[in-house]
């Protein structure tokens, strides 16, 4: 962790304009903030896609009667996987924010099983990145959820801020 991390509430400053290595970014991301809290893990990536995982955990359950994982952590997983797929295709990190995200829950996740999210950036434009993803629990041919979303590229200025700073 570098010396600038104190300014960002313990999170290392993300270097901008550097070549993007999803595996390195993944390792860094999974130790901090929400991704660290829910226990997200980096799996693998390709030219325009990223695969992340979320092990089942009792405190992330949405239905105590069945033990099925809540959909919130699955959206977080798909949000991160789709977001990282843009940087994988771009070959570099650039600040972006989610414009919209739609998720279809095609079946309930199997209690106790790790959720895998595979996501790709299928169109990268000057200001918009179009993404889609699939969440499954072992067999991608039998998915749990499908996602489609759009990220907007934004200026670095104001993308991140000091946690706790006033509005």
């Amino acid at each position: 962790m570098d010396s600038n991390s104190e300014k960002t509430g313990g999170r290392p400053v993300i270097p901008q304009g550097l070549s993007f290595d999803p595996s390195q970014f993944g390792k860094f991301m999974m130790r901090h903030g929400h991704t660290g809290f829910i226990g997200m893990q980096y799996h693998t990536h390709g030219d325009n896609w990223v695969e992340l995982a979320l092990p089942w955990r009792e405190d992330l359950v949405g239905d105590p009667e069945t033990g099925v994982l809540a959909s919130g952590p699955i959206i977080s997983l798909l949000d991160n996987a789709t977001s990282m797929s843009v940087w994988a295709l771009r070959g570099g990190f650039r600040p972006q924010v989610t414009l919209d995200l739609r998720v279809d829950y095609v079946r309930a996740a199997t209690p106790g099983k790790t959720i895998i999210a595979w996501a790709e950036c299928y169109q990268l434009k000057k200001s918009m990145a179009f993404v889609r993803g699939i969440a499954h629990d072992g067999d991608i041919a039998d998915p749990v959820a499908h996602a489609a979303g759009i990220f907007i590229q934004v200026e670095a200025d104001g993308w991140a801020r000091e946690p706790g700073a006033s509005a």
Partner: protein
Amino acid sequence: MIAATNALSERLPPYARSMGMRIDGMLDGSPLLAMDFADRAMGRPGFLHGGVIAGLLEIAAIMALHAELGEEDARIRIKPVNISVEYLRGGITVETFALGEVIRAGRRIANVRAEAWQADRTKPLASCWMNFLLKPKG
């Protein structure tokens, strides 16, 4: 009213509790969901994670539906079918609120909308629509 709020609080799932979500009374006939900021909710430095905002909207929508179903609620299982979230503003490191509104609760399908905001309700962070499948239990 307090009894109703307490009964709904009992329905908050483990995920909502571990994220620090709570029901903070009723607003416009729906349970008002509140969540203090914590590092566990942070995405890019200084901002709420988009997945947390979506998760908060979903719980607000589900709680609004439980409230709307009333006595029927105990006999029905609610299954989320899909959600579409539009992100309007970045969420900063302060308390966040979310409120659901049941547009229609039919025999098999319920359509619910939800909105999340921070200090100013007229400046929402995000809004969503959700569809639910309603199935008799057992």
